[in-house]
């Protein structure tokens, strides 16, 4: 198989004091692939997401990103402006709390348009049109385009964050518990939306979730983490239906069936 991996990380180690957050972690991702990182809180999954996306440096190991032109760069050797540029263009990041990503004092349309302007778009009419189109894409009515995000519900805020992230057509999106803290019905709508957009746009996703049902619905592959170690990895349905590691068996057995 030709090596067209988009992201390849190896030998990642990170400790917080005496607490191991990442223990010799390796990960890889191909274009268009959705990878879920699952585990309980404290298992290191969010730390791994932050290290893969360059937000947090590992104590050892490297994360390589291959750009569309084939050049490979070490994410943690990049200059800060280069990494910021990457996050504005090829990459996107969806936070669990949309307030961490949105500007609450700027209109919904402005929040979406801002990403385009950061990429160099200058034509006001085009930006507004793109913003309205993306709000529609995430099922927010066009007549809310000038409203401030603080008038939005939690589910709407999360959809607005997704519109803001996807408007620049990233090829890789990192998601940290994107449906965490939302009502179940709101969660279902959001999951369906993410699933549809990811499949249609062919975006690669690294998704952190503690919810195995979310992993099953969205991910091609899963990595199971426990105390900073990847204890099991593989095809999503294989890992969930035929778990091998004691911890994965415990996770799968602990899910309440509705």
């Amino acid at each position: 198989m030709t090596d067209d991996r988009m992201l390849s990380a190896s030998g990642l180690n990170l400790r917080f004091g005496t607490v191991p957050a990442l223990v010799d972690v390796a990960a890889e991702l191909w274009p268009g692939e959705v990878l879920a990182i699952v585990g309980e809180s404290g298992s290191g999954k969010t730390t791994l997401l932050n290290v893969l996306s360059g937000h947090m440096a590992p104590q050892s190991g490297q994360v390589l990103y291959r750009a569309p032109d084939g050049t490979e760069t070490d994410v943690h050797a990049m200059s800060a402006p280069m990494l910021r540029a990457l996050h504005r263009s090829d990459w996107g990041f969806v936070h669990q709390n949309p307030r961490d990503a949105l500007r609450m004092g700027v209109s919904a349309g402005g929040n979406v348009g801002e990403r385009l302007m950061a990429q160099g778009s200058r034509h006001y009419g085009d930006i507004r049109e793109a913003a309205i189109a993306w709000l529609a894409e995430v099922e927010i009515d066009a007549d809310r385009v000038d409203d401030l995000p603080r008038t939005f519900s939690g589910g709407m805020l999360q959809r607005l964050q997704i519109a803001r992230t996807l408007v620049t057509h990233p090829r890789l999106v990192f998601m940290d518990e994107p449906t965490g803290g939302l009502d179940v019905s709101v969660q279902a709508r959001l999951l369906d939306l993410i699933r549809g957009l990811v499949a249609r746009l062919g975006i690669a996703v690294v998704l952190v979730t503690h919810d195995l049902a979310v992993a099953r619905l969205l991910a091609h592959r899963v990595m199971v983490m426990q105390r900073g170690e990847v204890v099991e990895t593989g095809l999503t349905d294989q890992v969930l239906d035929d778990p091998q590691h004691p911890y994965t068996q415990l996770l799968v057995a602990s899910v309440l069936a509705a």
Binding site: M1, W30, L235, Q238, H245
Partner: protein, 229 residues
């Protein structure tokens, strides 16, 4: 030509939460199915028919042995294939109809079926899906509804439509008629026969003897591990 074949396929489950109990289910199974034939897995309850079927799909990991699938004219061993290779084999070659539909919240029945179509534009996929659902007696007024509230028989027919729309060269069926009445059962029998006539290899578990006799060209007996050993 063999579409799917196993060699000395063994599978045991190791249950860590139950004190490390080992449950051997499949022991050196030799199985094959050719293109254009329907093979029924038969045997007493608990013998491992479903485990074998799920193993053939790569849903259960192969313990030891080989699991060869004819994918784009080449035999691929799913026992050693990477997850990405298995995803590709499932996309282009190997279809599976589970006993129960795993519903996706909010997605309409028609879209659940249409999104499983392969190599056709979206509109055409929706037309194909509508026609298949119609054939399986799912009324058009139900097509736009998410199937979460549908009856067991309706959900099973949506699952079947989803399985058949892709036209995969190999199709695995787990009790495809378990919740169906006689009329719908006969429709599924006709669909299976048409598929094998087109050259599809079908492997299935059919508890209903009428269905089994109507569709199976051959029966593969699965015996409980102790008796087989």
């Amino acid at each position: 030509m063999n579409a799917i074949q196993t060699h000395a396929l063994s599978k045991q489950f190791l249950l860590h939460l139950q004190g490390g109990v080992r449950i051997p289910v499949l022991h050196e199974v030799e199985f094959h199915a050719r293109f254009g034939e329907c093979v029924a897995l038969s045997g007493p309850s608990g013998a491992g028919k479903t485990t074998l079927l799920r193993s053939l799909y790569g849903n259960y990991r192969v313990g030891s042995g080989a699991l060869l699938v004819c994918h784009h004219g080449q035999m691929v061993d799913l026992a050693t294939a990477t997850p990405r290779e298995i995803v590709a084999v499932r996309r282009d070659t190997l279809g599976y109809v589970s006993q129960f539909l795993r519903v996706v919240p909010r997605v309409a029945a028609l879209d659940i079926v249409a999104e499983a179509a392969r190599n056709v534009p979206r509109e055409e996929a929706r037309d194909m899906a509508a026609a298949l659902l119609q054939r399986l007696n799912i009324a058009p007024r139900l097509h736009s509804l998410p199937p979460a509230t549908f009856s067991g028989g309706e959900q099973q027919r949506i699952n079947l439509a989803r399985g058949f729309i892709g036209g995969h060269p190999i199709l695995l069926l787990d009790e495809p008629t378990a919740s169906l009445d006689a009329e719908n059962r006969d429709i599924v029998i006709a669909m299976i026969r048409e598929a094998t006539a087109r050259g599809t290899a079908i492997v299935g578990i059919f508890h209903d003897a009428v269905v089994r006799e109507a569709v199976a060209n051959r029966v593969h007996i699965v015996l409980p591990h102790q008796e087989a050993a």
